[in-house]
Symmetry: C2
Subunit: 333 residues, 2 copies
Amino acid sequence: MKKLINQSENVVKDALAGMEIIHADLLRVDHANQIIVRADGPIQGKVGVISGGGSGHEPMHGGFVGYGMLDAACPGEVFTSPVPDQMLAATRAVDGGAGVLHIVKNYTGDVLNFEMAAELAAAEGIEVASVVTNDDVAVQDSLYTAGRRGVGVTVLLEKIVGGLAETQAPLAAVANLARRVNDQGRSMGMALTSCTVPAAGKPTFELGEDEMEIGIGIHGEPGRRRVKLASAAEITELLANPIIDDLGLKSGEQVLAFVNGMGGTPLIELYIVANELAKILHGRDIKIARSLVGSYITSLEMAGCSITLLRLDDELIRYWDAPVHTPALRWGR
Amino acid sequence: MKKLINQSENVVKDALAGMEIIHADLLRVDHANQIIVRADGPIQGKVGVISGGGSGHEPMHGGFVGYGMLDAACPGEVFTSPVPDQMLAATRAVDGGAGVLHIVKNYTGDVLNFEMAAELAAAEGIEVASVVTNDDVAVQDSLYTAGRRGVGVTVLLEKIVGGLAETQAPLAAVANLARRVNDQGRSMGMALTSCTVPAAGKPTFELGEDEMEIGIGIHGEPGRRRVKLASAAEITELLANPIIDDLGLKSGEQVLAFVNGMGGTPLIELYIVANELAKILHGRDIKIARSLVGSYITSLEMAGCSITLLRLDDELIRYWDAPVHTPALRWGR
């Protein structure tokens, strides 16, 4: 196992310590509760927005804590759900009197633990709304998940909903927008290589030298099928077409196109995929009105990519464009 | 070779096409000359700032084209110097009457070709100044280079000097600041794995399962030594101490700490290295006043990292903090 780590059991703890030092202007880490919170929170009258999930997907979610996005993140151990106590501590920490939104990726452990935390918070008098993202069109049920998995849309949703929350909109409006973003987005991913969970010390799965997995999950869960290596053009077709069809995107519509790296894929390859995606969308007369290219929801050092398309309207564009200042996404400030 | 590419000979061309579509608000690509130029340039009265080098180091340099950083970038083929014609075309394209600064990483091909381009531009009446970065403390001479190699400082220099150029400072002042940044910064890198140049189709070098290379160059050039795998704490010592000694950093000084990923290393590992670096600097009473953590000067999909330390003063901080709007670095706008 070749990794820049110390003891494998301290990977998350060490990385959080690094984040806290490097981004002291934006966030602080509550080490006792293992949560990352905005340095300037809680903000009175603002809906608190939190998310969380297993580590190993950086910068998601800790890298999205800051102005205009998340108020707190709950990192579990690598590829392991955070526990309800973390989520409850985060909910308390960000409560500014206007309630708290839980953004939950659809994995059974995450969903159950966030539900329990929401009940505990409600018992303390904190109003909580939850939205579950389930944008992965690759498979219906899978390892760790009933229904579709929550993947790339989560990043876009956290940005857009965080933008609305910053206007002191009420909890119901923030939750409604979150559901709308989830409904309007779809994703699919693929892997060229596996990844190695530090505590396991060996690759999560095996892929032959001439194979790739289409429809992979962000923890290496099996996808639609394992096939022979193909060109970037062919791979982009395999990912984009099911998304476009599932979303029912039509000629004349506009989207946010998100080409995401899985952690071990260099940026030069993501731009090649972006170029192929642009050709496909152009061919269907769908306009790329906004875009994001980079590694934002990853699977440790896995090589591969995912594509997310989000159908845009004026409201989504407004809050996507709104200022944001987090470790991983920043503009307008 | 597992890559998200089409034909290996089209890697750079396809990636440039993707960049142009995704970042149409910031830049345009002159495909005939294979250069990337600011969409809003040339800017009258502003020194044009250009750089370039082999591709495969993305986001450097094309990802740094935009307000407050580069006016143009000249990408060569992967790990191959751009040609003088590209540099001359870029120089012409960004000339707003105040002269042009060439930022050149110290590799023999880059240096020779930029020199030739500067002479050709001068013959056309364009005033050109050049600065060569040579911040890599790992080795003196190496494959492709006489003297020290230019690496991570180049990223910081492009940002800082771009900030000054935006104030319409004269060419001599911009060039002087560039030399000062280069003098005040040092870097060193390491690799856990090799990388594969698309046209070669096989790894540039071989590393055993329990080996790493300390002092690696950004094209896989040999470093100081090949040693057994070690912890993040030990690796960070091996990189940071030679930098600190070479710079002569003293108790009470302040630095910009740049922890850079080589392309295949996930962010979670870079924060672990950042944490170790912070401990070392804290132990020497050196303050991290600014920082940058991410993959900004890469070697395709190589796993590994580099550390750059830049001694800061008020002027360097002012132009580091100045607004920037490029694909890869953005703040204040």
